[in-house]
Symmetry: C3
Subunit: 174 residues, 3 copies
Amino acid sequence: MIHPTAEVQSINIGLNTFIWQFCVVLEGATIGDGCNINSHVFIENDVIIGNNVTVKSGVQLWDGLRVSDHVFIGPNVTFTNDMVPRSKSYPTSFLQTKICKGASIGANATIIAGNEIGAYAFIGAGSLITKNIPDNTIWYGNPAHHKGYITNKGILLDLDYKDKNGLKHKLKDD
Amino acid sequence: MIHPTAEVQSINIGLNTFIWQFCVVLEGATIGDGCNINSHVFIENDVIIGNNVTVKSGVQLWDGLRVSDHVFIGPNVTFTNDMVPRSKSYPTSFLQTKICKGASIGANATIIAGNEIGAYAFIGAGSLITKNIPDNTIWYGNPAHHKGYITNKGILLDLDYKDKNGLKHKLKDD
Amino acid sequence: MIHPTAEVQSINIGLNTFIWQFCVVLEGATIGDGCNINSHVFIENDVIIGNNVTVKSGVQLWDGLRVSDHVFIGPNVTFTNDMVPRSKSYPTSFLQTKICKGASIGANATIIAGNEIGAYAFIGAGSLITKNIPDNTIWYGNPAHHKGYITNKGILLDLDYKDKNGLKHKLKDD
């Protein structure tokens, strides 16, 4: 379903994907099945989005972004693709930023270009990400630091892999 | 006044409320009288907004938000309603976030779900709010800390209740 | 080129300036030549923008903003024009914020009203700017601190004016 107020130039939009009000999707973008692209989102050309991805409102996905299946991108999350932007001066190629399977990026976080957010990792709201984030880790702050672990299903663990009841967990096989 | 480019599905919009360009207001939302909803705002269903509220551009008000009278929400302020969001996985109910009478939330602040912003409190621009904020207090930083007090009318006070001229104030009766 | 979905009320738009989808430009605004105003941008009345300026998506330029030539404003960058905003209470005049020639403001940064960003200065993504920023300096953090220098052409230097290879540079004459 593409909302009539959205401007979707791409024909590579998967089945059962919703693109809501006032979105812009440029011609070269690819979006998988079962995605939910909330209102006021902008998606540039060199962007590939997997299946069952959620992009909340106010997000822009710039050239160079690769978003795997089941990723959650919170509202007003902001990406970059150029380390030293100057007006009207374009790099020969943009940095690639990769968001791996099942990762969640909290509201209003900022992601510096060229980094990779690992599978099922969790970035806290309002954080600034300046480096690669390993799988199943929790990071937050400005700049963000490693604060704990998270299972694929979303159970929060401290740096000793213990949940809030003191129980140890494995990350991948829950 | 509802701008013709806005998509307002709710019929519960008060008198003398302005809803500007490219806003989306879902069917279940309630908005009081004399509000000013700037461009590019998204308001979900389970949202109740009082009278004389200002919401600047680029804000989303998600299910679970309760906004009292005379609240100011700055541009690109970002709310959440789920502590551990995962794509396509929905909590049984969303956390409620309450913004009390006369509070002001500065530009681009991020508010973690489930917290209450007290009456006439003032959240500085760019802050991250992770806890309940008492009435008439000033908080800023990422995460935000308690930095001072503010009278109902907006006079800034330090932690000793003194204004910039060293004069002590009461908070509520000015 | 003004995209048909944009609402541009001003007639003071320069040659070869692009204003993209779902932008709003109020009647009093002035925009120079060769600018690129990305989607979902709001520009108020008392705003003057020079030539060859880039404004990425999700930005609002409020009354009191002065933007010189060749400035880059990243996505979701957020400005303010009132130090203590209260709903329905308006200052007699808004604070002016000046962005000087060639400056670059990184993604999702927040700029406190009344400050000046110097020529060719570089504000890191996710930063909070609370003071005047001298020409050709690099600032980042929340709040932002002085972290280095940058030449007009965008070469990053440390606090000893050395680039990543240890070579000293002059700032202005490269």
